[in-house]
Symmetry: C2
Subunit: 302 residues, 2 copies
């Protein structure tokens, strides 16, 4: 199982004509997982032809408007389309109340069930698992309570090499091979798994860290992930402003990617004062080489 | 004083690639008045280069998401830009609580003062006046509590005909002419206002009626206005659906425009099932001739 990530927004609180507020759609198999949901996220989902019915869970980092204001509209649209599938929503205390009060004001109810789960953790904690992925949540360090999320595909079995496999193995015993166990036929013949399989593909890992100041505290949570998203609101020129607003510079994002020995870094959440993200990219590259400075619409393979 | 109206959204609850959710920016002099504020309204305002700092008041019709979900994001952006001017917000009970709870969740406060006024009327009632316009609110008939708004420019004075005006009139006395009074000079000469002025231009009136079923009850409130906006969610093919959902057909919008003897009708809030608004226009034209079937971005002179 691999992951792909559609970038729906790369602005910070002040969106621009080219950048929408933060939202990302992580895909595993045919399921989507929505990470943050700034205003207009449902418009972006339509633009990129992502069907809202394929979203199985929503993960909100914190309750600044640019990270969740699109949620109620999205939930309403899912209901208008007659969604029946349950939807899981994770976020800090307060989110459920905001959604509930908006629903009450409209004097309607949704066509589907929502499973709200309020996040309140001080270390990395698993909060979700389905047939595709498991999700862990961990604290990051912003002006208000804020969480990062780590997504990991589920381990797969050993892969059968069909061409070398003897024809006389019962199907039911082939399953043992995928678990890394030898098969013993009725006549005593041993079919060694190592000869007829390749090892399971590595799981794919994605860690999402926004919004946050540069914080060594998160290193253990993101260590060695395949792809790290770290916010990079500012360039070095505004390092002081990053510090006072509990945001990070691109350079700090690069530094923590290096320290955590991740494979790939992606950055976004640029302040609207920047016309391009070129300086962000240059400054982050000083610390870490394998970086993508995101733009809206980018598709990242993890 | 005239009015102009920028159409920011013409979809109903389900937006489309071409149509955003309901919002309109009414302009008088250099001030804007925002009527409803669906998700993404601030993005539309930026697209059409309308500065949010020029918005003096916001009028929300009802608390279905497609009419107000863009409000908190807009208010936050105004604050990020350092707005200092007070902002008046009118809407049904519940709106202030929703805004307040979102503000509390973000643990921030706005840079400016908001004057909330909760609407609760059963007949037309004046709720606002400034140097440009007065605004009245009246009930319309939707599934939940919902209000229409009538905007009227303030009466102006008689207009001086400079070319005929004697040079020896003191400036202070010219003001009398603009009020429709003759001026008597110190030497007893009478300067008749009728000779040296033209009558005041008529006030401009705009009535906004959304969302609502076809309702004769609103006729007295919208009688003879220059421009009437009436929702026209459905065509005749879905007249039953209009009835059960407390929406109107285009034909009904035309009919009420005829009955109210308005000068111009504009329609919008189309169901997403329609690719164009051509059938809406045709059907409304049977009842009333001077119609514009709105599209996003239209600019209407009133």
């Amino acid at each position: 199982l691999s992951l792909s990530l559609k970038i729906l927004g790369t602005s910070s609180a002040t969106f621009t004509k080219e950048r929408n507020q933060t939202a990302q759609a992580l895909k595993s198999n045919s399921s989507y997982y929505l990470i943050d949901c700034g205003e207009g996220t449902q418009i972006q989902l339509k633009k990129y032809s992502i069907k809202t019915n394929k979203i199985d869970a929503v993960f909100i980092s914190h309750l600044h408007g640019d990270h969740y204001l699109g949620l109620f509209g999205l939930l309403s649209s899912m209901s208008l389309k007659g969604r029946e599938k349950r939807l899981s929503i994770f976020g800090p205390k307060g989110l459920q109340e905001i959604i509930t009060i908006q629903l009450q004001a409209s004097q309607s109810c949704f066509s589907y069930q929502i499973d709200f789960q309020e996040i309140n953790v001080d270390t990395i904690t698993q909060i979700y698992q389905d047939k595709n992925i498991k999700v862990e949540v961990f604290p990051v360090y912003h002006r208000i309570e804020c969480y990062g999320y780590k997504f990991t595909t589920l381990p797969e079995g050993y892969k059968i090499i069909k061409s070398t496999l003897p024809k006389n193995i019962p199907l039911i015993k082939i399953k043992n091979l995928t678990k890394g166990k030898d098969v013993i036929l009725d006549d005593g013949t041993v079919i060694p798994y190592q000869k007829h399989t390749t090892p399971p593909p590595a799981v794919a890992t994605y860690a999402y860290c926004a919004d946050t100041r540069y914080a060594l505290e998160i290193l253990p949570y993101i260590q060695g992930v395949d792809t790290l998203y770290h916010e990079a609101t500012f360039t070095e020129e505004f390092a002081n402003r990053a510090e006072t607003t509990f945001h990070a510079t691109a350079s700090q994002a690069g530094l923590i990617a290096h320290q955590a020995q991740v494979k790939q870094l992606i950055i976004g959440h640029y302040s609207a004062r920047y016309k391009t993200n070129e300086v962000h990219l240059q400054e982050a590259k000083v610390e870490f080489d394998n970086i993508i400075a995101l733009n809206d619409g980018d598709l990242i393979q993890i």
